[in-house]
């Protein structure tokens, strides 16, 4: 076991706590840089998809895991990002006083997708200031349903259920939105987003967010501006999810409202919970889980009797079961399990089960009188 002796404050807020961090993440980076050259196209596509989902996961994690605000409508932000990107880089934006619609380059439309989603996040974040817990969940849920309806009805822009083609982006001769270049683009965005989140979380804003999560009242008494913190969290979270949506639009190449339903929001929530609430590692682990599950099931199906394997409901059934089991037996998610395994080996013969046990469990009431 390694003991860290901190001799100055710099050490306390440093991103890499000790040399082990640098070594392990450098190795991971190296693997991620080399691996696309060794795999065939299908797996590169899967990894790209993984990065995109992980970006959205980080976005939701900032809100749900670090600010403690439940959002059942993150697919809406995901969708807003995707449609913004598709429309701005495809047909362009038609303004009433201009003859030709403006077609944005990717460098501009991509950040704009994030900005639009963030604006939507602020729009839902402001009523959210007065709501707590369950009400907030329901409000975001209603918002997601309304946005989904807008996607399908606003046909002049989104083309409704007939779908919208997404243009590929070219940089010179290189197609940016396919194969290797797209892999590196998504990887780069993911790393940037994770670094941004890490830095955010050690800044005053991030600490305020965590204070709000742990207790609104004590945060308020410490001088945290609740309204500002919550709105910021909503905006940042929605913005990051919107960026993921923009990448997703290019990955898919074809958008229709069915990709952004409430079920999609649920999937993002499952990602966050199974990965481990309150850790950025959890977002990535969760993304791996959400993508690997259907693949794993497809392989697993070969070993099942035909009557069972052919059932269409098998996948959601397993999905739901895993979700319920995780919450009941491992509330800290995959990352929590990983921490336990790590500690077990670090303290080898001395590991005590009670280290992670919750001392007491109370029924927490939201309506104190």
């Amino acid at each position: 076991m390694r003991f860290l002796f901190k001799t100055n404050y710099e050490q306390d807020v440093r991103l890499a706590k000790h040399s082990g961090y640098i070594w392990s993440y450098a190795t991971l980076m190296l693997i991620l840089l080399v691996i696309p050259y060794l795999l065939d196209e299908y797996y590169i596509g899967q990894l790209t998809q993984l990065f995109i989902v992980a970006i959205a996961g980080v976005g939701l994690m900032l809100l749900a895991g670090y600010t403690g605000q439940v959002s059942l409508g993150h697919a809406a932000f995901f969708g807003i990002g995707a449609y913004t990107e598709a429309v701005l880089s495809g047909n362009g934006m038609a303004l009433p006083f201009m003859d030709e619609p403006i077609v944005f380059s990717f460098l501009l439309s991509f950040p704009l997708a994030g900005v639009f989603a963030a604006l939507a996040g602020i729009a839902i974040g402001i009523p959210a200031l007065r709501l707590v817990g369950v009400y907030l969940a329901i409000a975001t849920f209603a918002f997601a349903i309304i946005v989904e309806e807008v996607f399908s009805r606003w046909e002049s822009v989104t083309n409704g259920y007939s779908g919208l083609m997404v243009e590929s982006i070219y940089f010179g001769d290189m197609e940016l939105t396919d194969g290797l270049p797209f892999y590196f683009l998504c990887l780069g965005v993911l790393i940037a987003v994770i670094l941004f989140s890490l830095n955010l979380l050690r800044s005053p804003t991030g600490r305020a967010m965590m204070a709000v999560r742990d207790s609104e009242i004590s945060a308020q008494s410490m001088g945290v501006n609740l309204a500002k913190t919550k709105t910021t969290a909503f905006a940042i979270s929605a913005g990051i999810t919107g960026l993921a949506g923009a990448l997703f639009a290019h990955k898919l190449g074809f958008l229709s409202p069915e990709s952004f339903t409430v079920l999609q929001s649920m999937e993002l929530l499952v990602l966050v919970i199974v990965g481990g609430l309150g850790s950025l590692h959890g977002a990535v682990f969760g993304a791996i889980f959400v993508l690997a599950l259907p693949q794993g099931l497809a392989i697993f199906k070969d070993f099942l009797p035909v009557q069972l394997a052919e059932q269409p409901g098998l996948e959601p059934l397993i999905f739901g079961l895993i979700l319920v089991f995780f919450i009941i037996f491992e509330p800290m998610g995959i990352y929590g399990r990983w921490l336990k395994v790590k500690l077990y080996f670090q303290m080898f013969p001395l590991y005590k089960k009670a280290t992670f046990k919750r001392q007491k469990s109370y029924m927490k009431s939201e309506r104190l009188k």
């Binding site: 749900a64 403690g68 439940v70 009523p127 007065r130 709501l131 817990g133 369950v134 009400y135 969940a137 329901i138 409000a139 849920f141 209603a142 918002f143 349903i145 309304i146 309806e149 399908s152 009805r153 009242i217 409430v262 649920m266 929530l269 499952v270 919970i273 609430l277 059932q311 269409p312 409901g313 098998l314 996948e315 959601p316 059934l317 999905f319 739901g320 079961l321 979700l323 319920v324 919450i327 009941i328 509330p331 919750r358 007491k360 469990s361 109370y362 029924m363 927490k364 009431s365 939201e366 309506r367 104190l368 009188k369």
Partner: protein
């Protein structure tokens, strides 16, 4: 048309009633309420159409079964997560909904198709008020829904006011710790409440069956009950009924007078407005928080 809205609204009200019962007592929002309704409807379908029982007998058996299902759900799924953040509890119910929906789809004889239950109620119109007084035509199905809702509300009201168990439930919903000290078995009371709520969802499912037919995704209709519950004030039983009826009427009118698309979202738009303007709903009490 307003009557049709009222009848749909009564279904929302019944489902919302289930939400409110559970929320009031245990502070859990049950996102699987629609799925409980679906299970209830399918059980009734099994008893009535597959086994060929009498309608009333089958419906009664389905309601009783759902009571047991609700009990078990609370015992097995919700009790272990007491004390975890609200977020996790909500997710547990969502996960349960997933499981219930796909399990129902895999049951032999149920499957993913749509089914109908044969009912003793005719669907033709029936004149209640003679034409001379401004005619009011209403179908027996709609009438059955409305009457059943009011009956159920009356029964629940009586139960909560006059029986020992009902009063115990009220007490434990007001203050769990105090009622625990008073010797009320709070845990089993919670399970009972889940049972009652599942049973009322089953009533909703059975009544809905003639109008919309049964299939495994009918649980999504349960999500419409959220606006109803919120509009009425999340912890109020009469509020749930009034909210449900109002949402039903507004939805039907929106489908008629507004461009297509508004019918689906009207309820949610109202929900957002209510949450912004008056979060405690029409009948809810405002609660302050003391540190």
């Amino acid at each position: 048309m307003v009557i049709g809205g009222v009848s749909i609204g009564c279904i929302y009200a019944l489902v919302a009633l289930g939400f409110v019962l559970i929320y009031k007592a245990t502070e859990v929002v049950n996102f699987a309420q629609g799925e409980l309704m679906m299970l209830g409807a399918f059980l009734a379908y099994t008893f009535i159409s597959i086994l060929g029982w009498n309608y009333w007998l089958g419906a009664g058996a389905a309601i009783a079964c759902m009571f047991v299902v609700g009990n078990i759900t609370d015992r097995v799924i919700l009790r272990p997560v007491i004390g975890q953040p609200q977020f996790s509890i909500v997710m547990v119910t969502i996960g349960f909904g997933y499981v219930a929906r796909s399990a129902a789809g895999m049951m032999p004889g149920w499957g993913t198709e749509t089914y109908a239950i044969s009912t003793p109620f005719a669907s033709e119109g029936m004149q209640i008020i003679p034409a001379s007084m401004g005619s009011l035509v209403i179908s027996q199905t709609d009438l059955s829904v409305i009457i059943a809702t009011f009956l159920l509300c009356a029964i629940l009201y009586g139960f909560f006011t006059y029986t020992r168990l009902g009063v115990a439930m009220q007490a434990s919903s007001q203050n769990q710790l105090a009622s625990y000290y008073m010797g009320i078995p709070v845990k089993s009371v919670f399970s009972m409440i889940w049972g009652i709520s599942a049973a009322s969802a089953a009533v909703a499912g059975i009544l809905l069956a003639p109008t919309t037919l049964i299939d495994t995704s009918m649980g999504f209709l349960g999500l419409k009950a959220f606006p109803a519950a919120v509009l009425g004030g999340f912890g109020s039983i009469p509020g749930a009924v009034v909210g449900g009826v109002i949402i039903g009427i507004i939805e039907t009118l929106a489908g008629f007078y507004l461009p297509p698309g508004f019918k689906n979202v009207a309820a949610y738009i109202i929900l957002l407005i209510v949450l912004v303007v008056r979060p405690q709903g029409l009948f809810g009490q405002k609660t302050g928080k003391r540190v």
